[in-house]
Every structure is written in structure tokens, then in C-alpha cells.
Point group: C2
Chain length 155, copies 2
DNA sequence: CTGCCTGCAAACTCTTTGCACGAAT
DNA sequence: ATTCGTGCAAAGAGTTTGCAGGCAG
């Protein structure tokens, strides 16, 4: 889905839910969809402010759940304190993450079997699966060669 | 592995690392291994204090990483703010979690294929896998029937 | 106009840390 | 005797929330 189509979907979602289309929400959308890598709430705040400097941290935190619920963003929690977000692209919803143990860089890969696995395993327990996540911690090439990652500065 | 054997392993691990075997650490061990379900740091504090009332929150938080590193406990982060812990039993280390969306109850299941998957996927990216986690969110039976779980009180 | 949205700052939750005392080796 | 471990309380990080004013519908 193109950015334009997603933007329309966002506005439609807001309207459907009786939520208002504000400049701040649109600025946050634009900032989020300009990112090609995963980003944090704080990083999103910086980028959104570059578009509309009236955007506050509170509005970022209030808007992220809306964008997640409407499946425009995917929330990724790698257990490192803060959450990461990424626009839902053409990869679909069945993705696994490979996370570098040193720099926390997140690689996403399609993992279509996850859904099958969720169903299989849940039904054994008599539960109905809702979603699943698979994360692999790994050492990236640079880390193995030099003992640290180039983009470790992120931490 | 029996509780007694694990207790010895814990003491051996402490000695090897030049760490001291204190009453507090043993009380925390005993409290942790008396639990049959997943527990939080706060719950562990309560149980450990029932054994040795001098145990403090700080010591709980300092001891949990030691027990995790020594593979006596498994740390489970389901992205709900606090972390859960459970003694590593006979299930082995390749386990997936099924988490109820309502009460956050955690079911563990053996998932031997996870390791294979981690290797496959990581090597495609040129990374060396370290560990993997697979979590499935699901609705438990009670939730589907009554709209809420009996043990929801946990939250 | 009405009521949702907003920014601000304070509050919150979970976890970590500095310090001086206390206990294990 | 050393030196590490401990409890206490304060600090820290990320996120949430109450409030009074502002803007969308």
C-alpha cells in the first residue's frame, strides 16, 4: 500500500471512530511513514516536530495506539525498555524479527508459518489464537568481527 | 532436575563466580523454586520475605539476573510492563509461550523447531543466532465463554 | 457552539543505583 | 580483616494522566 493510500486509510479510520483529524495527528502520521527503519516514540517526536512544532510527547503517546489499532503501524517490543514501531508494509502481518544483541538493530522477515503454528499450539490447549510473535536474538557480522556494532550509538 | 539438585547448582554457580552464598540469596532461591506458575519480582519478594523477612526489593532485583544467567530461571517478557520468571524445568530451553489476552496467564509449551528456525533465518541474513522466543496471544476458554477470565484479578 | 484534543507538567510503574552498614570468606 | 552484599531511599527511564485552554466538526 502506498503512503498516500495509507494516509487516506488513517483519516478514514479516525472519522469512522468519531476521532478528529487534527494537524498534529497528520504530522505524526507523516513523520512515521517517512521512516524506513524502526523508530521509538522519542524519535518520532523529533521527526513530527520538524513537520509541526506544536506536537507534544503526550500526543505522540496518544496517537501511537490509534495507528497500531488501525494496523498502519506494527508495534515491536524487544524487551529493551522502549517500544519500536514500523509502518506495516507489503510484508504482511506475519513477520518475525531478528534483533542484534549488541546494537538492537531489528531485521524483519516474512514468517508465514507462524500463523499455522499459533493455531496448532493454541488449539492443543483449547485456546483461540489472536496473534503471535517470533523474535530471534543474533550477533550481526560487524559484532562478531569487531566485538561491537557500528550503529551501537543508538543505545 | 530436582529442586535439591538445582539448589546445589545455584550454590556452585555462586562460588565459581566468586559470589557469596548469603541467606537472602538462598531464601530467594527457595521462594522462586516453590512457585509452580510464573511469578513477578514483586510476588517473589513477598514469598522470599515469608522465608527471610530481611530480603529487600533491591536484592530481589540483583539476584534475578544471577539466577537467569545460571539458567535456573527463565525470564519471560510478554510486553506488559513487568517481567515474569519461572524455574527452568524438564521442558528444556526451547519453549514457546501462549499468553491469554485477558488475564495474562502464561502457558508454556515445548517448541523444539524454534532453534532450527532461528538458525535458518539468521543465517540468511548473515547473522549468528543466540536465542529465540515465540509467543502466541490467545483467548482462553473462560474468556470466550464469559467475556473475562477468572484469574483476571492478577492485573 | 460543543466537546474532543492538545500541551504541560506531574504522576506512575517497574527497575536500577549510591551509600553506609553488615555479614561471608 | 577484607571485601562483597545488603537495605534503604532516591533516582531513572519510559509512559500515562489531570487539567485548563484550543480547535475540529
Amino acid at each position: 500500500m502506498s503512503v498516500e493510500a495509507s494516509r487516506e486509510k488513517f483519516q478514514a479510520y479516525l472519522s469512522e471512530k468519531g476521532l478528529r483529524v487534527t494537524n498534529q495527528r497528520l504530522a505524526i502520521f507523516d513523520a512515521a511513514f517517512a521512516q524506513k527503519e524502526h523508530f521509538t516514540a522519542e524519535e518520532l517526536l523529533d521527526h513530527a516536530r520538524a513537520i509541526d512544532d506544536s506536537v507534544s510527547r503526550a500526543t505522540i503517546y496518544r496517537t501511537l495506539p490509534i495507528m497500531t489499532e488501525s494496523h498502519l503501524l506494527r508495534e515491536v517490543d524487544i524487551g529493551k525498555g522502549e517500544k519500536y514501531y514500523l509502518r506495516v508494509g507489503d510484508t504482511g502481518s506475519q513477520v518475525a524479527q531478528v534483533v542484534c544483541v549488541d546494537c538492537d538493530k531489528i531485521f524483519e522477515i516474512s514468517a508465514p508459518f507462524m500463523e499455522w503454528y499459533g493455531s496448532t499450539v493454541s488449539s492443543k490447549l483449547g485456546l483461540k489464537p489472536v496473534s503471535q510473535r517470533l523474535q530471534v536474538s543474533a550477533q550481526c557480522i560487524a559484532f562478531r568481527q569487531h566485538g561491537r556494532c557500528p550503529n551501537r550509538a543508538r543505545k
